[in-house]
């Protein structure tokens, strides 16, 4: 084993004197059990797919946050160079070309990252917060609350996400805030179920029972014992939910149900009327679409990687 090799090397260096205490000390050092997070991080680092995902997501987030610095032009700037106010193919000055109103597509895609990130994060935040509350109430209070709330969640889960979102937008009307609310609402049942499952699983564990036996109040038990252990599936689900949210938001935008101002550089909305330009200006559709795929792929890769890294079945191995 590792210990003996290293120790014999050490012993050889130090002239062959090594005490049992020193051996044991080094043993503890070398074999100290790492926490769940350290182990997970190490496994994640060695997962090539997760690294790729991380790179993609970083590019996405940096582009979104630093959009004004990354984009050479504003998203609404219409180039009046050459007197043309029309679309143009990619060129050196405009690497992605110009859209039908003469706006630089590269800049619009860059600014579009902001919308996707914003709407994605807000939707998932809505789903997560409301979902976790519902799940916590259902899991902890049990009985009647549990049945009713979970039935409701089941009904919501039965309807496919996009259709549910479309239904909500149909009631609220199209718009940016509305699609955030709609996509957020579709995320609620997922997180609710997740947290309820976590709570049910940890509720009967020894340490929780011990805490309650000692007299720790319900709320503190929830906060200090149950929630931290539910954290990892929530993180995994949150990442994957972000991927789904970006796709759903783009879908709603594509259908024309998103931001109603056509000058908004949202990726899905940018794809709406481009089908008729496929013959003449395919890049108008292909590039924003590729941007969506790349961002979503990044989140999916990280989510999958996290799921594997945090899987307790692998603890204590490699």
């Amino acid at each position: 084993m590792h210990v003996s090799c290293v120790d014999s090397a050490f012993a050889a260096r130090e002239g062959g004197h090594i005490s049992v205490a020193q051996v044991e000390a080094r043993e503890v050092q070398l074999e100290a059990p790492s926490g769940l997070w350290n182990e997970a991080w190490r496994r994640l680092r060695r997962n090539p797919a997760a690294i790729v995902g991380f790179v993609l997501v970083s590019i996405f987030v940096v582009t979104a946050v630093f959009a004004p610095l990354v984009a050479p032009y504003g998203p609404l700037e219409q180039g009046l160079e050459g007197g043309r106010l029309d679309f143009a193919s990619p060129s050196w000055s405009h690497p992605f070309g110009l859209d039908p109103l003469g706006r630089d597509l590269f800049s619009r895609v860059v600014y579009g990252a902001r919308y996707s990130l914003l709407i994605g994060v807000v939707s998932v935040a809505i789903g997560l917060s409301i979902g976790m509350v519902i799940g916590a109430v259902a899991g902890y209070l049990g009985r009647w609350f549990d049945s009713v709330l979970m039935r409701l969640m089941d009904i919501m889960l039965a309807i496919p996400g996009l259709l549910l979102a479309i239904g909500i937008v149909a009631a609220l009307g199209p718009g940016l805030i509305q699609i955030m609310a709609a996509v957020g609402a579709t995320q609620i049942p997922i997180f609710a179920r997740l947290l309820r499952g976590s709570i049910l699983a940890t509720r009967e564990t020894d340490y929780v029972l011990a805490a309650r036996a000692v007299g720790v109040k319900g709320r503190r038990v929830l906060a200090s014992h149950i929630l931290p252990n539910s954290l990892s599936p929530v993180i995994v689900q949150g990442t994957l939910a972000l991927a789904t949210a970006i796709i759903d938001v783009a879908g709603l935008g594509f259908l024309g149900l998103g931001p109603q101002d056509p000058s908004t550089p949202e990726w899905g909305t940018m794809l709406t009327d481009t089908t008729r330009y496929l013959q003449t200006a395919p890049f108008l559709a292909l590039i924003p679409g590729a941007a969506i795929v790349v961002s979503v792929l990044g989140f999916n890769l990280i989510g999958d990687g996290l799921r594997e890294a945090l899987d307790p079945k692998f603890r204590g191995r490699a």
């Binding site: 479309i166 009307g173 783009a250 879908g251 594509f254 259908l255 795929v293």
Partner: protein, 334 residues
């Protein structure tokens, strides 16, 4: 088995009632009320009152609901605000279009998905297996409308092999008694029309069916891998059964159970995907109809359309559950 089926069928009634209430409430839960939303900018107190009288929105809620139930039972779903045609007529045209597309997509995904998954399982660990995993990962990251646009670009625009929009070429004329164009072409004995209709169907069906295909392939692979290690497979092989027979009689048959569940769950995915795919290919189905109604705030269409879609959804789920119970006897006793 019969008791199980009857029980599930009886459950339909309360579900339908619940659905009708949901749809009814949903239409009226709009900020500003449906009349306001319908009129948009032209809303003045007088016009709003007029609209409310016209659509009976000024009557007490339970009266409205009762009238709504009565009319729906007589299949009167109102008149579309945008087209001025009865909703029921438009539904009769739009629904078969979407069904045809969904069926084609489902057939595509099953016919190609199961063999692909099976092969990937058989060649576990090889480059083929890894490639299929990567492909399915990319597959779930592509929004379906972008995939549809890509397919359209490659096959219709660039290669010019297939048509880009609609269900059939306007140049070819044939009667449409069933509104299922493939069926109609066959019934009319018109081969040219049949070929034309099929050509129009291919791209949208492939676009719509590709994500279910990826999912079915992945599930098949997992199921076959699981079943392969079971004892009865080992016994079958030890007995000396030909590998082909082992594959079909034992592996596939038992792997089929989880696969069937997944196929049943795909209906939801197909419905939502249909909305997006239809828009890309200008396919005159329920998807384009309902989205147009949302943008135009056409409430009769939305009310009737959504109720109908929900009904279909519930029925399909029921059929899938029954089929699954048929195949897996363990379900019937639960």
């Amino acid at each position: 088995m019969l008791r199980f089926a009857v029980r599930r069928l009886l459950l339909l009634v309360p579900i339908l009632l619940g659905l009708s209430i949901l749809v009814f409430v949903w239409i009226r839960a709009l900020p500003g009320g449906p009349a306001q939303a319908l009129l948009g900018e032209r809303a003045t107190p007088e016009t709003v009152a007029q609209i409310e009288r016209q659509y009976g929105l000024d009557e007490p809620v339970h009266v409205q609901y009762w009238k709504y139930i009565q009319r729906t039972a007589e299949f009167d779903l109102g008149t579309s605000v945008t087209s001025r045609r009865p909703v029921k007529d438009e539904l009769a045209e739009r629904f078969p279009a979407t069904i045809e597309l969904s069926l084609a997509a489902m057939i595509f995904s099953v016919v190609f998905g199961i063999p692909l998954g099976f092969i990937a399982a058989k060649r576990y660990g090889t480059w083929l297996d890894h490639t299929s995993l990567v492909a399915s990962l990319i597959g779930i990251s592509i929004p379906i409308f972008f995939l549809a646009i890509l397919l359209k670009y490659v096959f219709a625009v660039k290669l010019g092999l297939l048509p880009t929009v609609g269900r059939a070429s306007v140049l070819i004329d044939f009667s449409h008694p069933t509104k299922f164009y493939v069926l109609d072409a066959i019934l009319a004995g018109n081969l040219e029309a049949l070929w034309d209709v099929l050509k129009h169907l291919i791209l949208p069906a492939v676009a719509l069916g590709s994500i279910p295909l990826a999912i079915i392939a992945r599930i098949t692979r997992a199921a076959v891998l699981d079943v392969q290690n079971e004892d009865y497979v080992r016994v079958a092989r030890a007995k000396g059964l030909a590998p082909r027979e082992v594959d079909t009689r034992h592996i596939l048959r038992n792997a089929l159970l989880p696969i069937m569940t997944i196929i049943g769950l795909q209906t939801g995915l197909l419905l939502s995907g249909a909305v997006l795919t239809e828009t890309v290919f200008a396919w005159p189905g329920m998807g384009t109809w309902l989205v147009g109604a949302i943008r135009a705030r056409d409430f009769p269409v939305l009310q009737g359309g959504i109720l109908f879609v929900a009904l279909v959804f519930v029925l399909v789920n029921l059929v899938v559950d029954l089929a699954y119970a048929l195949v897996n006897p363990r379900i019937r006793v639960s």
